[in-house]
Symmetry: C2
Subunit: 368 residues, 2 copies
């Protein structure tokens, strides 16, 4: 078992990473103030892990809230199910919400915790790779709006993150790959040695090798904890974590939430950011291709949806949260492992990026 | 013009109190970071003050969101109108929301600001006495849930509170009285000299005497700012501001939001707290009657709804936010000007309070 710390003053919290943590009350008890807990999960995860976690938390008065599964349900009506259950069971301000599931469950449970009675405690128990390495750490919570992803939410930190890496054994291969998109992102934005390590271990990760997974999760969480500790509310460096996300959000919004997995959209969006960085002269073609090749080896799409035109992207990106004072800010790379957030690029380069034939780029990559 | 300060470290903000402030850009400009403002108001206030405030803020790109009026609309569907408007007009993270109206507008606008893109700035411009002396100061924001009032919300501080006392001239008499319930509350919980001042000036306040109103608003805001500065998140002394509110919320919930005005419910609830304090031996009958008499002179109900039984109260109070670990905590008085928050009372005294014939108590009061 390994423990990292997210350093945020009086909102600091630990990330516990290991196998079998789900069954061990010692990782939960120190973070629960009251006598009530509410486990929030979804229809897919409940049959796999709910009973085990209920047994681990047998000492508490507990309720379980089982939400429908999927990004399409990351909305107010679903959130309301959590409030309904808490109020019906008369949970008070000392209750602790426990998010058992992937990013959607974590984001909604965290936002429910931020809002219920103006704020109660919560613990993240992420069961997907994507949520383990990204969304469960850092306190971004929220729901989608028909006009934009994550447009309604809060910065609200959990009391702890408990990552049971064994839960990845039940994760569909497609979702494992989606999680790897965010893992690869850390290498690209701030850790070139990690990128090289991933190139050497991507097959082991896809084969669920325990040691490789633990290493990848820990290095990813450590990178995220470092960035969040330096910039909790995303006024600066934290925005680099959004590499590929502005393009990716446009894909998710255009295709309808849940059609492309978040990690898949981020992968294609990352390729677009790599290409734009290349067109700006900041990355060589070989560096761009190195990123694309690793994403493809991880089982991820590296070509945006064929039905999306440049105009579609521009339209969706205009309402992105990264837009400040009407200027579009993007995360780009000035080298592998060196991300910047910038609005300082010619509009024509963005348009050239959006008109790139990514299929042709992919076709010329070769195998390794 | 008078300015008070709410002292909350890096979340500190000023309260400006005066006549005609609505027309003066100098009270707004220092608190607006970006180029966009969104004025949120309601159907009643818009015809009276919206155009004036739009003119004052003519230098900014602005939208106006006009909500339906009333506590019944303090709910998610109405909040959604604010998000819709912000997203349609592509307001970014640097936008400033401006709450122009009473407590419902202020609570919803503040909560919308807390959640929109995980938090944007807002300014309170309260136009009712109740919101000027209470809800606009202190950062409590939120909406109601069918199972309880203010059950979903956030602690989120404004950038400034701008109180134009001249707006009270358009306030219905019933709402002026409702505001006085909270003004009297400050005297009862922490400022006996203010209580005596109110006894001497209640007729002037009801007649909208400018000097008396400014004095009452300032002393109320000063009391609130002091308490909030000492305990922003209501872990202790701030809870004393809820005198009469636990009983009052039960009245509002039972009668349906908006049937009794919040201040009216608080007035009747305060009488119940006075009576319970008396039954505990903490207030003399004369002290209880002094509070009741002042509330009645202010035009407020001092008898709870006849259709509400003791059982109704107990049922509604069991889900109140003041319930911790299953124990009901109430704000009671150990003397006029000396409130305590306590769960340390015999259950029978609470039940005796709920069975009191308040009409008979009112009938024996006499005139002054």
């Amino acid at each position: 078992m390994r423990t990292l710390n997210v350093d945020l003053g009086d909102r600091s919290y630990p990330i516990h990473i290991g196998e079998g943590l789900l069954d061990d009350p010692r990782f939960f008890a120190p973070h629960i103030r009251g006598r009530q807990v509410a486990i929030v999960t979804n229809e897919t995860i409940a049959p796999l892990y709910l009973e085990r976690l209920q047994k681990t938390l047998a000492d508490y008065a507990q309720i379980a809230v089982v939400l429908p599964d999927g990004e399409a349900f990351k909305q107010w009506e679903t959130l309301q199910l959590i409030f309904d259950a808490l109020l019906q069971a008369r949970h008070d301000r000392k209750t602790t919400l426990i998010a058992l599931g992937g990013g959607v469950v974590g984001d909604m449970t965290g936002f429910a915790a931020a809002c219920y009675q103006r704020g109660v405690d919560f613990i993240q128990v992420p069961t997907t790779l994507l949520s383990q390495v990204d969304s469960s750490v850092g306190g971004k919570t929220g729901i989608n709006h028909p006009l934009g992803k994550n447009m309604v939410g809060a910065f609200y930190q959990p009391q702890a993150v408990v990552i049971d890496a064994a839960s990845l054994r039940t994760l569909p291969a497609r979702e494992l790959s989606a999680g790897l998109a965010e893992v690869i992102k850390y290498g690209l934005i701030c850790d070139e040695p990690f990128l090289a390590w991933l190139e050497a271990h991507v097959e082991q990760l896809l084969a669920l090798d325990s040691a490789a997974l633990a290493e990848a999760i820990e290095r990813s969480c450590a990178a995220k904890a470092r960035v969040v500790g330096a910039d909790e509310r995303e006024s600066g460096v934290r925005a680099t974590l959004n590499l590929g996300h502005t393009f990716g959000h446009a894909i998710e919004t255009h295709m309808g939430y849940g059609v492309w997995l978040h990690g898949e959209a981020v992968a294609a969006g990352t390729v677009m950011a790599l290409q734009m960085s290349h067109l700006l002269g900041w990355l060589t073609a070989a560096e761009r291709d190195r990123g694309m090749r690793l994403l493809r080896r991880a089982g991820l799409p590296i070509v945006p949806p064929k039905e999306m035109t440049a105009e579609h992207f521009l339209e969706h990106m205009a309402v992105d949260k990264k837009v400040l004072d009407g200027r579009l800010r993007l995360v780009l790379l000035q080298g592998l492992g060196a991300a910047v957030v910038t609005a300082d690029f010619p509009r024509e380069i963005l348009e050239e990026t959006l008109r790139t034939d990514f299929q042709a780029l992919a076709d010329q990559l070769g195998e390794h």
